[in-house]
């Protein structure tokens, strides 16, 4: 059974077709990459999966359940988490708070017991704190737990955003350009980190990335988009030798290159 089944979706903004007939089936445990030149419609695909946009035509299924047009918070609840291309952390909140927020959607205590600090709530809060600390330790951010998230270096913020997404307990993790703005050393660490969390959390990962080293290095299957259309699909070697892909990226006919 597929984890995610995107059935030929199309997204139109007025007269502009941002994504045209996008089709993808993701099997549990896969690590898939989505690449393409700027403006190809990659982030739009993510926005449709996470409910920020509703596809104009056709539907998306998650574990055989139709999730088209469901609100983003409900989609996160069924098990799809994401990060953003231009990080969206809660800059003025502490690092630990940023992670703890990720656990809020699974909170069992009701509002009254949270306000009046009933023992059941205090216990739940304590366990959320412990789990958040474990996540922070995983990325080595535990010593910054009381710093404001906005004051962390760029690479650390990226990691924080990823573990915040992990805190929601996803089955499918969508990463939108996780290596953007990282130096080669950080990028290398990130690749190891992504593979580690995939094993540790039993995740399926779907990522957008411009850094070819990352995509070719960790993804088993790659999709290439250009002008809203999927132009190629295959393993890294196939993609590297695909004339359509070379044309899209270099803008010349492969024969002349």
């Amino acid at each position: 059974m597929e984890l995610l089944n995107i059935d030929n979706i199309t997204m139109k903004f007025g007269g502009l077709t941002a994504v045209n007939n996008f089709e993808l089936k993701i099997i549990p445990g896969e690590l898939i990459g989505l690449i393409g030149p700027n403006g190809a419609g990659k982030t739009t695909v993510f926005n449709m999966i996470t409910g920020i946009y509703t596809p104009t035509i056709n539907k998306i299924y998650f574990q055989d359940r139709d999730i088209t047009g469901i609100k983003p918070d409900k989609i996160t609840k069924v098990g799809i988490a994401r990060t953003f291309q231009n990080m969206r952390l809660m800059d003025n909140l502490t690092v630990i708070d940023n992670v703890m927020i990720g656990f809020h959607l699974h909170l069992k205590s009701n509002l009254a017991s949270a306000i009046l600090k009933f023992p059941s709530y205090v216990r739940e809060e304590e366990s959320i704190y412990q789990k958040s600390m474990e996540l922070l330790e995983k990325v080595g951010l535990e010593q910054f737990k009381l710093e404001k998230a906005g004051s962390l270096p760029y690479g650390q913020q990226r990691k924080l955003e990823i573990i915040r997404a992990l805190a929601t307990g996803p089955k499918l993790l969508l990463l939108d350009e996780p290596a953007a703005g990282m130096n080669p050393q950080e990028t290398k660490e990130l690749m190891g980190f992504i593979q580690n969390i995939q094993d540790d959390f039993n995740l399926t990962i779907f990522l957008i990335e411009h850094d070819m080293k990352v995509v070719m290095g960790i993804c088993k299957r790659i999709l290439v988009m250009d002008y809203g259309v999927t132009i190629a699909e295959g393993n890294p070697v196939e993609i590297q030798n695909n004339p359509e892909v070379i044309k899209a990226y270099l803008g010349v006919d492969a024969n002349y290159a």
Binding site: T50, I52, K71, P72, D73, T76, K77, A81, R82, F84, R88, L89, M90, D91, N92, L93, D97, M100, I101, G102, F103, H104, L105, L107, S109, L111, A114, I115, L116, K117, Y121, E124, E125, I128, R164, A165, A167, T168
Partner: protein, 355 residues
């Protein structure tokens, strides 16, 4: 410091506060008591507005409307029935209101409840708006409440207002309500729900994508905020002993907004401080209006001079402290003792250097 110790300290502080209230009630004149009462009511109003604006980031200008609802509900419940017959001169009071009667505490609670119900009903559609648009929509709501109050004389006695409301509000009530408000709103802010509210303030899209139900949390915050505004409205009516729709014009909301912004958005401590400073300065600056001398220059009597000076003070605060007097700072026992320790150490080290 252990949580247990902090609890004991808080209880001790409350006992001290109780003694202060007792002393004030027995020793101060009516004028000073009025200022203190208003200060305490402004704390309730400010802290509740801070919840929706400072912590949840939703720019709401509807507080005067919720206050008005609370003030009228309390008034109609605490006025003795025989007295109601006397004051509704233009048109007689409509039926259920002629007979209903409740003790002050029940009236206050119902005031909050009705304000909260109103907030829930208008919050659902209106909280989809963002920023200035939300501000305008909630301001519109407050104006509607005021105009409705003006035009249903069979309930509110219209523009004539209601006079002779029993003066139930004293410092025990106003300070007590302020303490309860702070306790509950602080409890909310420091819980997982509070984190969710602040996440919405920081970044709405990110908050939604990590699974926070925006509508639920915004409406919850708005409703709780309105509840306390309604209770404060009830206290307000029973302090002034007279209400009319004009008391709940935009200026009222604006005053609360000044308190919240001056104290610092997202700081309960700041709101408490600003609420007192606001009421204190409004009265303290009164002599300025009477005219006075600066050396040889004679300043004549100018009505309204007090407000001009006050605005100037406000400008200075905002110019030098953009985030309000206390910014995001919050009082804690831990911080308090660290501060005391520091003072002590500085003293000791300076003593050491003189030797």
């Amino acid at each position: 410091m252990k949580k247990q110790n902090e609890k004991i300290l808080t209880i001790l502080a409350l006992i001290v506060l109780g003694i202060l209230v007792y002393l004030a009630e027995n020793n101060l004149d009516a004028y000073k008591l009025r200022i203190l009462n208003l200060g305490a009511i402004y704390i309730t109003l400010g802290v509740s507005l801070n919840l929706i604006y400072g912590f949840t980031g939703q720019f709401s200008l509807g507080h005067a409307g919720f206050m008005a609802i609370g003030a009228y509900v309390t008034t109609l419940l605490v006025l003795p029935p025989y007295y109601k017959e006397m004051i509704y001169i233009l048109e007689p009071l409509a039926w259920p209101f002629t007979v209903i009667h409740a003790p002050f505490i029940v009236a206050l609670f119902l005031s909050g409840l009705f304000a909260a119900i109103a907030a829930f009903i208008i919050g659902l559609p209106v909280l989809r708006l963002k920023g200035d648009y939300l501000g305008i929509a909630t301001l519109g709501f407050a104006e509607i409440i005021r105009i409705v109050a003006n035009n249903i004389p069979r309930v509110t006695n219209g523009a004539l207002g209601i006079k002779g409301i029993p003066e139930f509000t004293n410092l025990w009530w106003s300070v007590g309500v302020a303490v309860v408000t702070i306790y509950i709103i602080k409890g909310l802010i420091e819980s997982s729900y509070g984190r969710a509210l602040m996440a919405i303030r920081e970044n709405e899209i990110a908050a939604e994508v990590i699974g926070i139900n925006l509508t639920y949390h915004k409406v919850m915050s708005f409703t709780i905020s309105a509840f306390f505004a309604g209770v404060a409205g009830g206290l307000f009516a029973c302090l002034l002993t007279t209400i009319d729709p004009k008391a709940f014009m935009f200026v009222m909301t604006f005053n609360i907004l000044i308190v919240v912004v001056m104290g610092g958005l997202g700081s309960i401590t700041g709101t408490v401080l600003a609420a007192f400073l606001f009421n204190f300065f409004l009265e303290y600056l009164r002599p300025i209006e009477a005219g006075f001398n600066i050396g040889p220059i004679k300043i004549p009597q100018i009505p309204g001079m007090r407000m001009v000076t006050f605005s100037a003070l406000l400008l200075v605060v905002i110019l030098y402290k953009q985030k309000g007097l206390l910014g995001g700072f919050e009082f804690s026992w831990k911080g308090f003792f660290q501060f005391i320790n520091k003072l002590f150490k500085n003293k000791r080290s300076s003593e050491g250097s003189t030797r």
